[in-house]
């Protein structure tokens, strides 16, 4: 079972060396996030900053789950759980949705700041990267919104920047679930959309918010399943939205259907600042509630940031389910977190060019986040990148093995490879690299891999493995 709140999670990762407490003064202006950034790049620990320049008494944790070890603890598992097992746990728990329960009181209501008393500069909002468009309050967050025409409630992890004392600008993309809700239900009616930006909730809630999940699905139920306990929700002060009661802070706001202000640029999860500014949301904060002595959270967004492991798992599972639904015999899918959610490895029982083409078309039908798919045979372990690179390098025909699909209006605007013109038009392409043997090749002409498991008799394999073990290797 996962920890009930952020503080329980932090207490669990401290003793294992996965969280460092920093009591020396650190500047909110780039220094604090620079430390977090370096830690992401070196597979280092999370940091809790207890002494932030200009903000005495405030605390901030950078990158709660940016490693597989911390990801495992976030799910209530031992820190040394293997990646394959984490994938299996996630897939099992994703199917065991547990509905949330509502409560009348909770820690996130210990302090209530009404709208007319709000000054966002009273919060230690970090300047995450040099050259960003501003200070980002929403990085490792959970943004709640509700569909105007149904009971669908969406939780998503979206970036929000401080514009002034009460105004935020944010970048849930138009193709995101929140963007869809807003454009379909609120903008045509000229109505503002209430949102709640939740900071420092229990880890399963944040994992659910950042997960690739179906339209209409309840991330609150997903969070319950992932953590194996119901999430306690409490009603907002200024809207009918419900938020995790154990959260450290809740920022209630209304998104304007008819206002814009500067947002971005911002160094994003693919590992680049791509210049995707100019089309964002604008929201006025209506109330802030928080725990006493709150601990804010920060994702130093970029290469191997705090969302990388979760989008790896949830993205891979979503891909597997979608391909199976379209009749493709998938064995395993792995999304390497180092790829910035731009590449998937898919192993199939039966490969070939037609299968590879179908895979890339299915995966880009609605919105195209993945731009590269490596399709391998089922004797390749997708979690073993050395084996994947070997298969790709040797089995993918440089001409016949490359299957491209192009699209307009649904490309990932954060893909650094796209030109500014392509990003504005949301035009792009995805490619599948067919690294399987053509099914029409006869068995007696298909090359045999020169590895112990493929080119040696079972008897010899057994002897070699026994000898290996006896040598203590």
């Amino acid at each position: 079972m996962a920890h009930k709140d952020l503080r329980g999670f932090l207490a669990a990762i401290g003793p294992t060396g996965d969280l460092l407490q920093i009591d020396d003064q650190v500047d909110w202006d780039q220094e604090l996030s620079g430390i977090g950034r370096l830690s992401c790049e070196r597979n280092g620990p999370a940091f809790q900053f207890n002494n932030i320049k200009d903000y005495a008494g405030w605390r901030m944790v950078a990158n709660p789950v940016a490693t597989w070890r911390r990801y495992a603890v976030a799910l209530g598992l031992p820190a040394d759980t293997s990646v394959r097992r984490l994938y299996e746990f996630y897939a099992e728990r994703e199917q065991q949705s547990i509905p949330p329960v509502t409560v009348k009181s909770g820690p996130c209501k210990e302090v209530v700041i009404p709208g007319d008393k709000i000054d966002l500069f009273d919060l230690p909002v970090p300047m995450v990267h040099e050259g960003d468009g501003g200070r980002y309050l929403g990085t490792w967050d959970l943004v709640v919104s509700k569909d105007a025409n149904s009971d669908w409630v969406n939780w998503g992890m979206y970036r929000f920047m401080v514009h002034n004392e009460r105004l935020l600008t944010g970048y849930p993309r138009p193709t995101s679930h929140l963007g869809k809700m807003f454009l379909d239900g609120y903008v045509p009616a000229g109505r503002p959309m209430p949102i709640a930006i939740v900071i420092g909730a229990d880890m399963p809630s944040h994992l659910a918010a950042t997960a690739t999940f179906r339209i209409g699905g309840s991330e609150a139920e997903l969070a319950g399943g992932l953590g194996q306990r119901p999430i306690e929700l409490i009603k907002c002060e200024t809207s009918d939205l419900y938020v995790p009661a154990s959260a450290e802070m809740v920022i209630e706001a209304e998104v304007f259907p008819d206002r814009v202000a500067q947002e971005g640029p911002y160094g994003e999860y693919p590992g680049y600042r791509s210049g995707e500014m100019g089309n964002a949301l604008c929201a006025r904060v209506t109330t802030i509630t928080h725990r006493r002595d709150p601990i804010l959270t920060l994702d130093t967004t970029g290469f191997m940031d705090s969302s990388a492991c979760n989008t790896s798992i949830s993205g891979a599972i979503a891909i597997k389910r979608r391909l199976e639904k379209h009749g493709i015999e998938v064995v395993d899918v792995y999304v390497p977190p180092e790829s910035g959610v731009h590449m998937a490895i898919v192993s199939v029982r039966k490969g070939g060019g037609a299968v590879a083409q179908k895979i890339v078309e299915v995966l880009t039908a609605r919105r195209a986040l993945m731009s590269k798919v490596i399709v391998v045979d089922d004797d390749v372990d997708v979690f073993n990148m050395a084996a994947v690179i070997h298969a790709f390098s040797t089995k993918c025909h440089p001409e016949r093995g490359v299957h491209v699909t192009r699209y307009q209006g649904r490309a990932n605007t954060l893909t650094p490879a796209y030109s500014m013109k392509e990003r504005i038009a949301r035009a792009g392409a995805s490619v599948a690299f067919d690294s399987t043997w053509p099914p029409e090749w006869p068995v007696n002409e298909t090359p045999i891999r020169a590895t112990l498991d493929a080119m040696y008799s079972p008897d010899v394999q057994k002897k070699v493995l026994a000898r290996w073990k006896a040598l203590g290797l």
Partner: protein, 99 residues
Amino acid sequence: MANEYETFVRDATRILSGREVVLSLRDLTPGRRKYRGINVRAVVSRPPRPGEATLWIRSVVGVKDPLPCSVHIVEELPEAFKAVTYSDFFDVMEKAERR
């Protein structure tokens, strides 16, 4: 008004034309309010004019132009521009210039 600002532009020549332009500025005064945003109608000068606030120009990917400018703020505008959500912010600012 502050002594130092930065702004993000898609096309620097637009704001360096010497005419009045609409800009979104970030206040670089050290302290708690650093990076606060304001929208203004202003004239940008390069080289900087004595007595005016320094302005640094950044590109849409955040690259800082090493040559400083100065900015004369003619008028502070409302905190947000009236336009349909997800409108292109740079287009909206250009339209605001035409009043």
